[in-house]
Amino acid sequence: MLKKITTAASVIALCALAACGSGSGGAGSGTGNGSSGDTITMGFAQVGAESGWRTANTKSIQDEAKAAGIDLKFSDAQQKQENQIKAIRSYIQQKVDVIAFSPVVETGWDTVLLEAKRANIPVILTDRAIDSDDTSLYKTFLGSDFVEEGRKAGDWLVQNVNGPTNVVELQGTTGAAPAIDRKKGFEEKIAAKPDIKVVASQTGDFTRSGGKQVMEAFLKSQPKIDVVYAHNDDMGLGAIEAIKAAGKVPGKDIKIITVDAVKDGMTALANGEINFIVECNPLLGKQLMELAKKVVKGEEVPARVVTVEGTFTQEQAKAALPQRQY
């Protein structure tokens, strides 16, 4: 008897899960053929809603689609590749004019993208690249240049410090593209000034707790730290807590450079606890819509389009903070 109940319970649970999956995957289903008439129909398969950055990314795409008069079919994959593939297949069946998506992972896209290619639907990658030998599977990749972000951080440091400078680096998740590239770009630039030395570098996994724990250890093992370079705002915010607990003043005794410019980071920058933030811009909706229009018309587009990104000093952060969307 007990066994029967358990089986029944698990069947119900499975059904519920399946229902969740199809609910999110088919967010755009129900509307018929979208390619009729002049309006462009775009199918967009988003990764999920894991951070403020991602939410802003989604909002930008939805708003800009409306402004550009593009009919947007949007789905949220909840961090799962199978949901994204499902969504892309449903867009192919609905014969949308263009498909755009942020791939959850780098590999495993060849089959579904080949289906899109056979159906003559152009594909645009946003924010993240895929790892495939066949570059004809997508028209273009629109996203940040992480190496350039690292270079911008390095540039600022080279211009704003004098004399011997000891830098500690809080890396992102080991092996992640942003972590590798932001480290590379930064090192490229500071090589110009031999006075600047990275004395310790360790991963903080892109999290606040990680950043804080690593920084606490650095503060004990390194006799002199002048600058913290964190691969994202969150680790920088963790480092601020550690620096305060050590009785030092973040932003003054130890300068802090981070990448991302999310709201919490910008607030700390405006308060003087961070010195410089390199933006990693999620608001790529406008560029995406322009690309989509060109691609649908059959115009040539560059295979790689870099998002427009800026940098923020403390004064700029104070000015920009009130209008910040994320």
Binding site: L2, I5, T6, G48, A49, E50, S51, G52, R54, T55, Q171, T174, A200, S201, Q202, T203, D205, F206, T207, R208, S209, G210, K212, Q213, V214, E216, A217, F218, K220, S221, P223, D234, L237, G238, E241, A245, A246, G247, D264
Partner: protein, 326 residues
Amino acid sequence: MKNRLLWPILALVALLLLNLVVTPSFFALRIQDGHLYGGLVDVLKNGAPTLLIAIGMTLVIATRGIDLSVGAVAAIAAAVTCVHIGTSPDAGTALAGMAIALVLCAALGLWNGFLVAGLGIQPIIATLVLMTAGRGIAMLVTEGQIITVNNDAYRQVGAGFVVLPVSILISLAVLGLVALTTRKTALGMLIEAVGVNPEASRLAGVRSRTIIWTVYVFAAVCAGIAGLMISSNVSAADANSNGLWIEMDAILAVVIGGTSLAGGRYSLTGTLLGSLIIQTLTTTVYTIGVAAEVTLVFKAVVVITVCLIQSPKARAALSFRKVAVS
């Protein structure tokens, strides 16, 4: 008993010696803003959540069970509390939030206990349900965002000091309490009896089910408090990363401490040592400057070595070889 703890103690001493040789400043202690400050204090503060979860895990493992859901439960506790606090700087709101979170955690423990003791599902499967679903619940509570709070009362739990870090004081208090209630009463013996043979102990008049149920609730509450420590340490709840993989650290701590996964005899002192070894290892990696890429390999080598020297067979094989060579 004493012999069993000898090897974990040696491992901990060896790790500390490594620090003494490479970075003597690791042992430097000073008073900073009225509390102790130094590498050893960091080990205690950052090890407190793992220790607390490992205490709960010890009792669960002693009943021949295992609880994989503790990390997710920690994330839920953090999420619920931070969402409840919101922007309030009020101590009362923080206390209320923590109380709500812990009651919820107890309910989640009841659910685990129901699956294991009530329905007789294998513990590893039963708690896997909540391990997966729990993070989803935490994401739902925070709406996928990192919730930052600014509440001094809440900050005390994970980042506060009464000479020593508040978090380690809480964990040690719980450890003392558990030691008293299980070793000074028959409870400990009953737990071990259930672990050795649940059916025989039931026939002997032990309420196996109630005991199993109780240890899962206790483990969940411990996980909840640990979650509060983790998020309070950085004044933010991050449903994605709070308590991620901490169940593995806790299980490892229990095993290093000499408690058998087959249930039965358990050692709380061993668990304390195990937790300290794991945190010392993490902090050591940061202080002696192991490169981020080889961090996991370094940890693996240490853990494997510790496990091997604890195995009588491995020790016998090693000493046999020595004899053979000479």
